[in-house]
Amino acid sequence: MDCKWIIGGSTFLDLAHDAWRRARPDLRVEKIALAQNAAYDFDLEVLTTLSPSEGSAFVAFDERFGNIKRIELMAAVMERGFKLEPFIGPRAVVAGGVQVGLNAFIGDGAIVGHASRIDYNSVLLPGAQVGSGAHVRPSCWFEPGVTVGNGAQVGAHSTLRTGALVAPGLRIGRNCELGWPQRYGDHVAAGTVFDPRYDAPILTYG
């Protein structure tokens, strides 16, 4: 039986491990939890004990540090020769013509409309909805309850939190965080962060 190593940390590691284990009973699904040091670097030593020829991997780490840690880990795992695949939950509703990149995660109950693109390393947690013809660029993170309208574009490394409703055709720049539960009706410049702990959006210039 081939192995599927779910590698990473955070509660998303548990979620992804459980999702893979239930979706693929034909595989031996193992959870590989990585430690981080004080500077948040991963301890990758354990990867030397795994053989890429005996299975494939999935990198699971949450949205911390602007979704950068997950992509760093993805790159490290690929450098070591591991094959990565996307995960599409058996109870996700994914229409025809949808492109899904490596190491993307589409959880159960998520809906992705016709001809949309979900780029590599992006995570749609259970219940997230993406309309038709939308483009979710690499390493995004959508929480349950997110709705992205038809034809909208979401920039790389962006995080959309529960209650974010992105109007059709909208462009969300890279490195954005839409954390205020509201309808977003205007284009959002790159680096803009709507964090519920703050009174005003955090803007980024330069």
Partner: protein, 374 residues
């Protein structure tokens, strides 16, 4: 100080008139307006101000169109000509009206009338990367408000700022003076920030006996302007033992080479700090809104990057959240102080280590309660 100075609307208005419209005030960063037609807008001492780049020359104007009083620029930072969106009146670098569409036919203005139309211009000075404006038509020399050593330190450090800047605004329910009293109080971090900043930096209050004794003596009215200079100071503050290192530290041109906490206070509206020995900086720009309301515009940026790196935005956001945590503790305590104030509240009991706050109080009360100005 007496509670009325933190509560009274008439005193607040007097402060705006006697302090904020009579001194140099921080207004923004030069790097935000580096290109032709780039602009930034702020409300400073109640006035809408625009700083606009005209082919490399920076000018500051009242951001109100002379036609129907619309804001000319509406975004906090942007890039477009100085033209009103309402009826497309356009302005030049001296504030003059350079174009009014269909002027002769629609408005009937004579050439003389057009020539008389000019935006109100404010004095503007750059100190390194920091922009200061003065709202009075006869500004005091910047060098009178700030000492040469302080200006040199501000210039040197701010020239090290990177151009990628994160900015947000927090609204606090406290009087602006509480922020500066708190910033001058080196005794509070070990109590207010015991789980955050004080674990990194060991602030210890010092006692300046001569200053303490001086604060009990009367200040001569003619010394008001000169005295204010003492309230702005900064640079090296306290050593940081075992400063935490992050990989991104190697990716920026650190300002200085000491593991110290840097602290600059430019009275009355600017605080700059670096809690990691010059690898990154935070700016707190205080904007009084009402006696019990202060907006704090918070900037976060690293020292100049050696080259762009992919996770710089994530670094700034993590730093911003760090600011939110630490400054949030300050805001929390200041809001508690403000909430407890009432006209008959007991007067503060200040000790010897608070001599600078006592000097400011002496200066402030003389300025506010006499007919003398700066």
């Amino acid at each position: 100080m007496h509670p009325r100075y933190y509560l009274d609307a008439e005193i607040f208005e007097r402060e705006q008139r006697k302090i904020f419209r009579k001194v140099w005030l921080f207004a923004g960063l030069k790097t935000l307006v580096a290109k032709h037609n780039a602009f930034l807008t702020r409300t400073i001492a109640g006035l809408p101000v625009v700083i606009q780049n005209f082919d490399g020359e920076l000018r500051a104007f009242e951001n109100v169109c002379l036609h129907r009083s619309a804001l000319i620029q509406s975004e906090p930072v942007g890039r477009r000509p100085l033209a009103c969106p309402y009826h497309a009146w356009r302005y030049g670098k001296d504030g003059e009206v350079t174009n009014i569409p269909d002027c002769e036919r629609t408005y009937g203005f004579s050439d003389a009338e057009k020539c008389g139309l000019r935006l109100r211009q404010f004095a503007l000075r750059a100190v390194g990367n920091l922009l200061f404006v003065h709202l009075d038509e006869n500004p005091l020399p910047l060098e009178e408000q700030f000492s040469p050593a302080f200006l040199t330190s501000l210039e040197s450090s701010s020239n090290a700022y990177d151009t990628e800047v994160m900015v947000t605004t927090w609204r606090g329910r406290y009087n602006w003076k509480l922020a500066y009293e708190n910033l001058r109080d080196a005794n509070h971090p070990r109590f207010v920030h015991s789980q955050t900043l004080a674990r990194i930096v060991n602030f210890r209050p010092g006692v300046n006996t001569a200053e303490f004794e001086e604060s009990a003596q009367a200040l001569a009215p003619e010394a008001l302007r000169q005295e204010m200079r003492r309230f702005s100071y900064g640079g090296r503050d306290t050593a940081i033992e075992n400063m935490q290192r992050f990989s991104w530290h190697d990716l920026v041109e650190r300002w200085g080479d000491e593991d110290v906490y840097y602290n600059w206070l430019a009275f009355p509206n600017l605080h700059i700090a670096s809690a990691n020995g010059g690898h990154s900086f935070t700016i707190e720009h205080h904007m009084p809104i009402a006696p019990g309301v202060t907006d704090m515009e918070v900037y976060r940026f690293t020292a100049r990057k050696k080259q762009p790196f992919a996770h710089s935005h994530a670094v700034l956001l993590a730093e911003m959240h760090g600011s939110k945590l630490v400054t949030g503790e300050d805001v929390g305590i200041m809001e508690r102080v403000q909430a407890a104030l009432h006209p008959d509240a007991p007067l503060p009991t200040q000790g010897a280590y608070e001599s600078t706050n006592r000097l400011v109080e002496r200066w402030y009360t003389l300025l506010m309660e006499s007919g003398h100005g700066l």
